[in-house]
Subunit: 479 residues, 2 copies
């Protein structure tokens, strides 16, 4: 469109910079947001106690070419770019920095292809996990990764954080399902990685270098995922334990016996009580721990469930019962899925007036050390005098100790931070990792450095510099 | 030991250089080989028609510290280092260059740990695949990756090439089983990547960056692998087809129906005849293609096998029969495993006097394009006037077209090369990759560049430079 005269008039609240003009020219007015409320809304993900800044602008490109335009414009002006999906992350990896260009992929939400023979789907990054799951489900296929946020989080965000979930114990995490990517690099070049084939070893595994890199190496603009045939219906079992140690021992014994449940989750007493308070479901709140297990092995499932029950009883379960039908099984799963909102309510009730804060931690240890981890977290809660509830993917040794703090009380926040650090220290001492599935973001940068050591840190910096020498992409995250 | 006088006397055939002296001081005489026969033996892997040079020396370090010593000494003298395992690779990735230090990991063959609860093993790189398989098998565990070379190839080599095999169709390739690595970098620094836990997202996925990087980024000195419980006994089925297209259609239909065989291999008529000539097994040599399938789903296996049989019949199989017992099933698997030596004999018989050459190709296409690939290879064989037998992992769309040439006849070799290039071109045109499991090495460098394009090549070089700026490690491979 030919503009006559001196260009666009200034807005009163936000002077147009050449950068904003360039972005509007490339993406159109509606995809370049500068409304202060919208900017505030895009400051952070769901991680508590992480720093966040106010972006200069939120962009919503609709295709790869527009992503290139955003990155090139930002690079020309030396303004950092923070990629965002649905901002459901729990490590601050999507938090904005002051003056940044937020690149939101939510408008890139096209499912481009579902191929039942090759068992792949090709999607833009803004497709919501549940949307993809439903679409492939209609063709008898299954996209397994199921993070807690699956109803709202995007595939792009899932890939950028290598999201986990409940099915991982049998079916693995996001990275196992990413065959290929299209990525816009900091240079504005478009890189295609990976393949559409079941196997492939052509060159370095760049696909998996980008998976989990939290937007620090490039912006994902297309994802080719592997699918599985829909699993058989599952059978579900609940085992109630008089101690977390007994529940931990049951998990180890399940693994040692060679059983492969399709779900193996643990809720501690704090969570059982929080869930019952949030939405009464008849959970045994006198139990110290509850294991929720499922098998999806078709005609073998009943035998496998009996095996799980036997192991739980031998490990000291008070009570073991199988869900009588799919409705009861779904209710049990729903109870598990309520852990997060229930604990938020627990924190809000503990410290009224909006002061209840929840630090959602994430630590994974070798399965055999699960009981030691649970014991240790209880000890840390007592020592630091903060309530800590533990919930998580017991079968993977991946626990979420959720630390409740009073935001209005600096001493409480400080005790919460101390507990957080003690849990990280314990996890590493048990041969574990500082993050099983939530990622590093801002929350765990120091602990990542502890875990990988100085050589690992140097290699991370070398790779970051090789791909993003100016530090344009998501500065301050991971490293 | 105190040396008196002017140092070690010169050997007549090989003047000791300061580098050799340093290597002997660090590793001991017996681990530093300069015998010309041994040097020749370490020139190349099993890839035909790939360039290879004569190394200056072959070193056999026994631990990480000695690997560091070799790399530091070579770096000081500006001499390239070529890592080698059992040299069973098929892409020339382990081929020496003139004057290089070969770093053989075969003496690092300790299984350090097997943990049945965490389902992991920790091994040095020189442990033979079959040795690990047997050791974990004694504990009811299973290390799935089973490349054709599994009885002699090493875990380090399997990891460096991201080796595949027959179980991949259900259980995935080597990289799915690598949780963590210890790697000596070109700088001589020791990097630890990954974890011992089932899940972990702490930082960039350096583990998988090293898997499949063919010794160009570092030397692997320890591997932490994930194990599975031993699978149930499998049931095996053979389907005989009047055309390769029908066999390809059967593979697509198996996938579309949501079946997940634990093995799904294809042998074409050339291979059936070569195997019968090599070792008579009663295979139907009049068939155009044979599919070998197995299921290991326990009490569901018979149903699943019936489903496979039904699909094969519907796709036009002449004959479908199930192995009556484990002995017959093992014999069928053995027939498949003889494909490689049988084709070598086929080539030797076709061009006597040691002139029969076999170019073992490796291409993978989306499963739905398998029939088109098989058709295309037959057309290429006719056009280029070279015998090509096709065998491979049909369920993964991963085929090995084996091209027979007369080494003594430059025109035959040239026709073979043309057929090789045409197959690569076809594979890429069908949405495939130039290597499904054998790797790039020397054989496919040009085709890798075709596949990943200029941006992909630039990113590969950037990562190589970031980790090995002087180009010390395995020069000329991959890139």
């Amino acid at each position: 469109m030919l503009m006559i005269g001196g260009g666009r008039p200034s807005l009163s609240c936000m002077a147009p910079t050449p950068l904003l003009d360039e972005l509007r020219a490339a993406l159109g007015e509606n995809a370049v947001l500068t409304d202060p409320d919208l900017l505030r809304m895009h400051e952070r993900d769901e991680a508590d106690l992480c720093a966040a800044g106010t972006p200069l602008v939120v962009t919503r490109p609709r295709d790869t070419e527009q992503v290139v335009a955003v990155i090139r414009a930002a690079a020309r002006h030396g303004v950092p770019v923070v990629p965002q999906g649905a901002r459901t992350g729990l490590a601050g990896a999507a938090n904005a920095v002051d003056g940044a260009v937020v690149l939101s992929t939510v408008a890139m939400d096209e499912i481009r292809e579902i191929d039942p023979v090759s068992r792949i789907a090709v999607v833009q990054p803004g497709v919501v996990n549940a949307t993809l799951a439903a679409a492939v489900g209609k063709q008898g296929l299954w996209y397994p990764p199921d993070p807690g946020s699956w109803e709202s989080s995007t595939i792009g965000g899932n890939v950028a954080t290598n999201a986990g979930g409940m099915c991982c114990v049998k079916y693995g995490v996001t990275t196992e399902y990413v065959l290929g990517l299209e990525v816009v690099l900091a240079s504005g070049e478009v890189l295609r990685t990976g393949r559409r084939t079941a196997k492939g070893v052509a060159g370095y595994d760049l696909t998996r270098l980008f998976v989990g890199s939290e937007g620090t190496l490039g912006v994902i603009t297309e994802v080719t995922v592997a699918l599985r045939p829909a699993p058989a219906d599952s059978l579900t079992l609940v085992a109630v334990f008089p101690s977390t140690a007994a529940a931990g021992a049951a998990v180890a014994a399940i693994a040692a016996r060679g059983l492969t449940p399709s779900l193996l989750e643990l809720l501690d007493q704090t969570h059982l009580r929080a869930i019952e308070a949030y939405q009464p479901m008849g959970l045994r709140t006198d139990a110290q721990a509850l294991l929720l297990a499922a098998t999806d092995t078709g005609s073998r499932a009943a035998d496998d469930l009996a095996g799980l029950a036997e192991v739980c009883e031998a490990a000291g379960a008070d009570e073991v019962y199988a869900a009588t039908d799919a409705v009861e099984a779904a209710a049990l799963l729903q109870a598990r899925r309520l852990a997060h909102p229930a604990m938020e309510k627990f924190a809000a009730d503990a410290y009224p007036g909006g002061n209840g804060g929840l630090v959602i931690d994430d630590v994974a240890v070798p399965r055999g050390s699960l009981a030691a981890l649970l014991d240790g977290v209880a000890r840390i809660a007592a020592e630091c005098e903060v309530p800590i509830g533990v919930v998580g993917h017991a079968g993977d040794g991946n626990m979420h100790p959720n630390i409740v703090v009073d935001r209005a009380d600096p001493a409480s926040v400080e005790r919460g931070r101390r507990a957080f650090d003690e849990i990280m220290r314990l996890g590493l001492a048990l041969g574990g990792t500082c993050t099983g599935e939530h990622g590093v973001g801002l929350l765990k940068r120091d602990w990542l450095a502890q875990e990988i050591g100085p050589v690992g840190v140097r290699v991370h910096h070398a790779i970051k510099s090789a791909l993003d020498p100016a530090g344009l992409l998501n500065p301050g995250k991971v490293l």
